[in-house]
Amino acid sequence: MLVEEIRLIKGCKKGDRAMQKALYDIFAAKMMGICLRYVSDRESARDLLQEGFIKVYTNFKAYSETGSLEGWMRRIFVNTALEHMRKNDVLRNSSELDVFNQNAFVDPNKTILEHLSTNELMEIICGLPAGYRTVFNLFVIEGYSHKKIAQLLNITEGTSRSQYVRAKQILQKKLTLMDNKLKAKVV
């Protein structure tokens, strides 16, 4: 751990406002990106950003410095986003589990994914319905297992899997459309 990082952590634990501002300057853009992945509109993302940083500062003493600071902060922001969705009844609109034949869906094309810019890919993800988007974010990007997601969202593992498969289906469609557009442009 760098000396400056240690100083930053100690300062934040003491509640030093200058150190808190420094922490904000370092991580605000990244955390804003996380917030935007979970909520579709920017205003809600701003609220989450502010709320998340307040939680980080007020709970900083709980950070034991054994894990990465960024990882610890990410978790706080993800959970803040989940709480926001619960409060705003976002997840209720998610469809329940249907019987899926998971093999009927093909994974998104790797080449297409590579060609997409970060913003384009995030735009597609943010365009997913809330329930699918949440499970997709938690499973693919945060690395949670379906069991853990089921526990977090109070759903069954099967529901989590089905939401993920649906998310993949929509993502695949959008990627294919985008790929076709790109090919059409090239031709």
């Binding site: 804003m32 913003n119 969202l153």
Partner: protein, 441 residues
Amino acid sequence: MKDESKNIIRRKANDFNVEPDVGDWQAIEQKLNKLSNKTNKKRVIMTYIVAAAIAILLVVGGLFWLNISQPKQNLPVLAQQDTKYIEKKKSEQKSDLVITKNIDENAITGLTENIDRSMDKAIMPDKAPQQYNSITNNTLKNKEKEETKPSTNVSEENIDNNKQEIQGITNNRADKLLADNNANNDLKEEKQTVQNDAFPPGHKKEEKEPNYVKVDVLEIIEPLKKSQKNDNYAVSLLFASNAAGSNVNNSHASGTSSMSYVLSQKQYLVSNLATSNYYDDVNHNFPLSFGLSVRKNINQRFAVETGVSYTYLRSVFLLGSIKKTQDLHYVGIPLLGIFTIKNFSRFSVYLSAGAMVEKNIAGRLTINSLIADTKKNKFTISQLQWSINAHVGLNYQFYKGLSFYIEPGWTYYFDNGNGVDNFHTKYPSSFNFQAGFRFSF
């Protein structure tokens, strides 16, 4: 999705940085300032609470000190009153005896002298012998009580030798003799008695027997002992909770454990971040207790108390879209030592200290989510919950045998290692407040 595709998406998501608006930091700073002010207010309130607690301790300590320095005043009020009564009667008794002695000595001496003088004068009124005999008999009776034999002997001798001359003593002379005794007001009463004795039998004033004769210390103390015996036991109904505020709110982290939703912060931080949970918000409601206890008085100061108590704990954990409500029900057995510091007419102040063991009899975890049905899981905690406590008690007897009491105090709950988060694990040391009714029999 294949790992390669996942990695691409993950990498791009991690690179997805969006600059926040300029006003976001100002908004955060304002919220932090508000929180800081709230914290300061809480500190001020806590300072007042601590100051009040210290003041109570000083008052109680002062009473305790006074109690030690004046042990006689520590008797129950009834005993105090009766003791004062006994002392008063004793002093009256002494006073009466002293007066009697004074009357006897002075009157008899005076009488003897005057009798000697009267021999020369040889005055013999008609009623004089009867009056003199009355005075002499009365005086002699008192003399016998005090066993002032020398004076009495002199008097008797003089009487025998000068019986004839005694008849010359008149009423006025008897009055003068008594007035010359320099007695106090009580002496005047005695004089009146003497005068009454001089009345004819039919008109004799009924004399009351002195009260002190009736005062029997045992008669007073025995009922007191019986009364204390009767109050040896007390049954209490109590209600208890922590002293201030409504809910305790905190955020903390947890991870997998015997109960998957709870784990201490340290455990969380060393555990795998990807598999552990972070609670966004945790509310531990203040515990509520109800109980029935029995107190046995060992002596006037010391007593032991035990009984049974029921405690209800509720905690609410907010985790993303999930709201988990944890209800815990405990049954406990306390064992306390009681020391009475001071007894007033209706109030008594006491200290109590002891321990309690509690057993979880039921636990329920209700999981509410907006995207799934509500789940209810029942469980019990096998480990016993031990605690120690100390209270200052104020008892007010509002009816015979019935009293109301309040007991502010402190309790410390030991970690029993069950890993279930609740108010006691979050705040093992806490101030609390007990109140209830006590029935003594």
